[in-house]
Amino acid sequence: MHNRNLIYDGTFDGFLSTVFYVFEQQIDAVTIQSESDVQHGLFSENETIITDEKKANRVWKGLKNKVSKFGHYQLYYAFLSEQAGVENLLLDFIKYVFSTDLKVDKDFSHPSVLKIAQIAKMVGREKHRMEAFVRFRLTKDVIYFASIEPDFNVLPLISKHFKRRYADQKWLIYDIKRQYGLFYDLQKVDIIAMEFPSNFDFTKTNVDYFDQQEFEFQKLWQDYFKSTNIESRKNMKLHIRHVPKRYWKYLSEKQPY
């Protein structure tokens, strides 16, 4: 039998619509791929699945009744990892969930369940890291601006946290890798696309764009960061484990003084 290749648009709703299709058509041998990273199999046929919000919601609701709250959000977290092949792992998990009357989302002896839990944990860690490592810089337009480059697509997960916390300031968090951002205008958070000047360097605080005060507070923060360190306890290995080097370029305290 041919392996069927289902292509979806990369959105979570698109993925769930594909799951709907797999169950509806009772397809056994299947590979689900996002249209952005399609690879053509030699002996497989490609089918494009059209995203259907209603079908997606039916799958999502159906899952809700079959798994714990924990298992439910784990699925979304794992999806946002954007890891190669995660769709098929999720499908395997979902098939297992619907194959039994038990609540199996905590069956950590099942390979797909354990793997999803592990991926979701990585995404959760990245989410938490972004809540910690976002560094706002005050622009001349009085917007607190931060740029990030997370390993996983965590912007949808951190929106609520920042909205609740910074209710009285305009802020913008921009994901350079995925080229979209969250903008809070004192009322609501919007997903936005942005154009930056071609010479715009995200790691530099340029006088043309940023408020004069910004430079002083960055200095004070760097001073604080240095003063609060205890030299005789120095432990760079531990330091790097907590703050991996790939995050350094957007941390104000790690910039040249």
Binding site: S109, Q169, T228, R233
Partner: protein, 420 residues
């Protein structure tokens, strides 16, 4: 705010505050009201880590490092020849707000040297917190130091604005305190601690009747002890710790390896190593007490007054109690699972969930992520392969150490290479 002045003060007063190890910013339930700034619900966040690997969660500073006391272990002691400085209330408020807005910090941890009197100092600390809450509508985390000897009225007020209050007992025994800090009395530390404890109890009971009772120190109180400055052994330290947890309902006791800062001959000399490994073992013991269901006397007692440095305290306990093992992971209760060396509470939770579906074997357990190197000698599972030899505790310890890179051996070999 004059930038240069503030910059200089910040350097001095952050440097002086860094020996306080508490950095917790969790456990409060302060939500963002009226579209103000900040939110202190949910878990704490470490916004950065210093090069010594410690978390930076709060802006941790002293209001001033002028002090009328002369405690030998303290860097701000009266007789120490260092630069002194003092923040104005407004300066601390501005720093906190601006750091917070940039997502550098979760809030403020404000301590102080004692100038003039305990009450005079406590009043200033409270003034900062009050201003942040009432004028700036700040809902981030505030940790205030309770100044030993401060009046009950001030402690009452402090708890209305702060999320956490702490007073450091510093030296684990009364005799040690007398030797190193002759100006201070244990009673002075205890007094604000008792007041805060009673206020918290009262707040919790009133809240049951009146929902909008003003919050009182929702993240509780904590304390800190210096390790390795005054000769106490681990048994004495953990007994003191246990006493404080039980008597004053503390959220945390912190252990701070003494960093030599003085040529005073009552103390370890400058240049001697900070006892970091010992500090680590004490924290592990603290965790076993608070989360793993151990009684402190099982780990440290009159017969075993010192924690092993080469193995963790749970393994050390297991080796002394081999009659409790092996444990069958497919049938044992949570309490016994938590006692198997190499199993953390997260693994225990995963095992309890997973074994409802099938009997677990080594393969499952390995994937779940338990440290089999240690655990294998203390457990059996759905497999006919298990440790059959009748091994002595020394033999097991030897085998485990052989097959692992202990933190201990690493720090040991570092030291050896210094002379090598």
């Amino acid at each position: 705010m004059s930038f240069e002045r503030t910059q200089e003060k910040l350097k001095i007063l952050a440097d002086a505050a860094k020996y306080d190890v508490s950095c917790s910013s969790s456990g409060s339930q302060r939500t963002n009201k009226n579209k103000g700034l900040g939110d202190a619900t949910g878990m704490g966040i470490c916004h950065s880590y210093t090069e010594d690997g410690r978390c930076v969660s709060l802006l941790k500073i002293l209001l001033t490092n002028y002090c009328i006391f002369d405690c030998a272990y303290c860097v701000t002691r009266k007789s120490n020849d260092i630069k002194r400085a003092a923040f104005k209330v407004q300066e601390v408020v501005d720093l906190t707000i601006n750091f917070y807005r940039r997502n550098y910090i979760e809030g403020l941890f404000l301590s102080s040297g004692i100038f003039k009197s305990a009450d005079y100092t406590m009043e200033r600390l409270v003034a900062v917190a009050k201003k942040l809450r009432l004028e700036e509508n700040f809902n981030g985390y505030i940790h205030l130091k309770s100044i030993p000897g401060a009046s009950d009225e001030l402690m009452r007020e402090a708890g209305l604005y702060a999320d956490r209050l702490s007073v450091n007992i510093e030296i684990p025994t009364t005799s040690g305190l007398k030797k190193l800090a002759p100006d201070k009395k244990r009673e002075d530390f205890i007094k604000p601690m008792v007041k805060v404890k009673n206020e918290i109890i009262q707040y919790k009971s009133e809240r049951k009747i009146i929902k909008n009772t003003p919050k009182y120190a929702p993240a509780g109180q904590s304390t800190q002890m210096i390790i390795g400055a005054s000769g106490e052994n681990d048994f004495q330290i953990m007994q003191t710790s246990n006493h404080f947890y039980n008597t004053y309902n503390l959220k945390r006791v912190y252990y701070s390896g003494y960093v030599p800062i003085s040529y005073d001959d009552r103390l370890p000399q400058i240049g001697s190593a900070v006892p970091m490994m010992r500090e680590n073992r004490l924290y592990q013991t603290d965790w076993l007490m608070r989360f793993y269901g151990f009684d402190v006397s099982e780990i440290l007692n009159a017969k075993h007054q010192h924690l092993d440095l080469d193995v963790d305290p749970k393994l050390s306990w297991a080796l002394r109690n081999l009659h409790e093992f092996p444990v069958d992971v497919n049938t044992a209760d949570k309490r016994m699972l938590a006692r198997i060396p190499g199993l953390g509470m997260k693994s225990v939770y995963k095992i309890l969930n997973a074994r409802r579906f099938r009997r677990l074997n080594w393969e499952h357990l390995k994937k779940i992520g338990i440290a089999l190197n240690r655990a294998q000698y203390f457990m059996i599972c759905d497999s006919n392969q298990f440790e059959r030899r009748d091994l002595s505790p020394e033999k097991i310890k030897g085998l485990i150490l052989q097959n692992s890179t202990s933190k201990y051996s690493k720090s040991l070999s570092n030291q050896l290479s210094l002379f090598g």
